[in-house]
Amino acid sequence: MKPRHPSSPYLLLLPTAAFLAVFFLVPLLLAARNSFYAWDLLTPPRYVGLRNYEVLAGSGELMGTLLRTLGYSAVVVTLSGSLGLALAVALDRPGPVYAFVRGAVFSAYVVSWVAVALLWMWILDADGVFSAALRGLGLPTMSWLGDPRSALLALAAVSVWKITGYAMVIFLAGLQDIPRALHEAAALDGAGPWRRFRHVTWPLLRPSAAFVATTSLILSFQAFDVIRVMTQGGPVRSTTLFVYAIYEHVFVNLRVGRASAMIVIFFGFLLLLTVLQLWALRAGAPREGRRPS
């Protein structure tokens, strides 16, 4: 299609471009500039060159934060994805009972993060429901959120609980897109349930899986509310993930420059991840034409 006027496409792009510029591009450029200054919001900024980056890298803070964030994301993405897939396959059946269970699983996703965090703080308390249940079974228990070894895993578990419903819904939609005839044909050929899943369901679910993986990866990288409410980054920094670390630098340590440097690094890192993921998604997408319609 040829535009009536050469500038029409740009005019149509303008609203979105303006929005992105004001709320994403300009703040990012400001952050990039601030990252060369030591600034506390109130007194005049001081130019320090690359000092902020040096300190972040030299103190091991950057690596520590990055590794914690990656570990947390790995757990959240794989567990919520696989659980969501298992639930979707198990619950992809007609009937009011299944509909109710599907609704119940999804409901966690709709609840606000703060409410979820408060609820789980109560459950995971050293004297909470979870510990009481473990004690009842004669198992050892601990202060799940108070111990540096378990706090991050506890947070990851809460996030998995919360977003699994989302993964399930995407997978359900994907499943319902797969024509019944394919399953029937495979069954006639003598394929059991596992082989039908492996060779019919899974290949056709690949786009849904890529979508779920991308969105939950982004979600897990943005983890903030749950940390702010449940652990405030502690104990001993064990739950200080990237976004929370940025928040802490700006609002607690009074270091806008240091936080800006982290923002720039975080942006670069996310950009890299996105590129990798897009590449994987393209490489792994089912070839056109194989997909029946």
Binding site: D40, P45, F251
Partner: protein, 450 residues
């Protein structure tokens, strides 16, 4: 987000500047709309001059503050204080800094003591002297208890222009379960060694677990500062450079490590900041620990709840913190400050409210209903005279302890050093068992780096 300071620093490029101005105006209007605050003085529908007060309390303290504000409104018809809750101390401070940068700060708020030097040196606090009337009259007509006001809270605080007035002030004190102590024939420890021995006698083990801990205290900068002072150290050197008590700082940290890991008599409460404080309180109330250190601010709360808890009911005793080579406690809580930039009429209203709050009857109402300390000298005398302290010996502890209150160094870095260099490392040393000397020398290194 280029901000006021940078805009002012380079006002050359006019094109860039006008865009920056526009952004700034936008930020200011958003902040103002979000906070319902200030900028220009507003008049309430009933014709009173309004000033907004940002406060950072929940629970009981909030109730008492709001009831005092109501009383202020009943007693005069010229001013109205518009009180807005802004989250806990640290959240409120974050919002205050953002609002200051956007020039939308409230006429009145309160901040933790350690942050006052930073705000004052950044030039964002209104000097209060100019509201006091006659120059040279000093701070006298406010009649503040010296140790709790600016003069006593900061080294050299009396010689500086007055920028803060005491609001809810506290010191850490020891609370103990009187029933358990009586049963074991113990008296509250008055030295570190006695504390260690008492904790060992109080602990009740249950196989590998612990049924009752001897001692609990949040692993927090405030209590560590108390220990450093008791061990004879100073947090900052005379030149303001971070020293963290040197050898005394290490000894303070080792004392905790010994109690937690060697003696296993002290429970380090999980959670950060005020979560850990809350855990300490609930452990004490439920009888899981026999002795705690926390703020005098919780006195009323602990007394009331320990007395009501059914079978677990017990009597709460309060005692001064023990000494090592000397007695020493830091002061805590918050100071009232008036951020710069509010309209003169709003400032007038805010200061009228401040003056009213400093009067004996209001200061005492606040203190006796919450557990914080009375900040008015005449008020304190009145309480003593009326026999209040004879009837409430627990309330007396903090007031007597003021004789050993150590002033904070006046350093703009004090707050940042506390939050960034020290607090996370205390947790590391105690919970993850890092060597105390190594931890603190790292803290000094981080604190020096600007």
């Amino acid at each position: 987000m280029s901000g006021r300071a940078r805009g002012a620093a380079r006002s050359g490029a006019s094109a860039a500047c006008s865009r920056r101005d526009a952004l700034r105006a936008l930020a200011a209007s958003i902040a103002a709309a979000a906070s319902g605050a200030t900028g220009c003085a507003r008049r309430a529908p009933d014709g009173r001059i309004e000033a907004s007060l940002w406060f950072a309390y929940g629970g009981k303290n909030r109730e008492v503050l709001l009831s005092l504000i109501d009383q202020f409104h009943r007693e005069q018809d010229r001013y109205r204080i518009d009180a807005v809750y802004q989250g806990d101390y640290f959240e409120a401070l974050a919002k205050l800094r953002t609002a200051l940068a956007a020039r939308a700060a409230p006429a009145l708020t309160h901040v933790v003591g350690e942050v006052v030097p930073y705000l004052a040196e950044a030039g964002v606090l209104e000097p209060l002297d100019r509201f006091l009337g006659a120059p040279g009259a000093g701070h006298a007509d406010l009649d503040v208890v010296e140790a709790l006001g600016q003069a006593g809270t900061f080294v050299g605080g009396g010689e500086r222009p007055l920028v803060c007035l005491p609001f809810n002030r506290s010191t850490p004190i020891a609370y103990y379960n009187r029933d358990v102590f009586r049963e074991l024939g113990l008296s509250p420890p008055s030295t570190w060694d006695e504390l260690r021995a008492a904790a060992a006698r109080l602990v009740v083990r249950d196989g590998v677990g612990t049924r009752r801990w001897g001692f609990e205290c949040p692993i927090d900068w405030w209590f560590w500062a108390a220990l450093v002072g008791q061990a004879g150290g100073e947090l900052l050197g005379p030149d303001g450079a971070p020293a963290f008590g040197g050898e005394a700082g290490v000894r303070a940290l080792r004392f905790w490590q010994t109690l937690v890991h060697e003696d296993r008599t002290m429970k380090p409460p999980p959670g950060r900041d005020y979560n850990a404080w809350q855990v300490t309180n609930t452990d004490f109330l439920s009888g899981r620990v026999a002795m705690i250190w926390t703020s005098t601010a919780f006195l009323r709360y602990l007394e009331e709840n320990a007395g009501q808890a059914g079978a677990g009911k017990f009597e709460v005793g309060a005692a001064p913190l023990p000494r090592d080579v000397r007695s020493s406690v830091p002061t805590g809580g918050t100071m009232f400050v008036m951020p710069r930039g509010a309209a003169p009429a709003a400032q007038e209203a805010a200061f009228a409210f401040l003056r009213w709050m400093m009067q004996p009857s209001q200061a005492n109402a606040w203190a006796t209903r919450t557990g914080y300390m009375p900040v008015s000298r005449r008020g304190l005398e009145e309480l003593t005279r009326s026999g209040y302290y004879a009837a409430h010996p627990n309330d007396r502890v903090a007031v007597d302890q003021l004789a050993h209150a150590a002033p904070w160094p006046w350093s703009p870095d004090l707050f940042r050093v506390q939050r960034e260099a020290v607090q996370p490392r205390l947790e590391e040393a105690v919970l993850a068992q890092r060597d105390a000397a190594e931890t603190l020398s790292e803290a000094v290194r981080v604190a020096r780096e600007r």
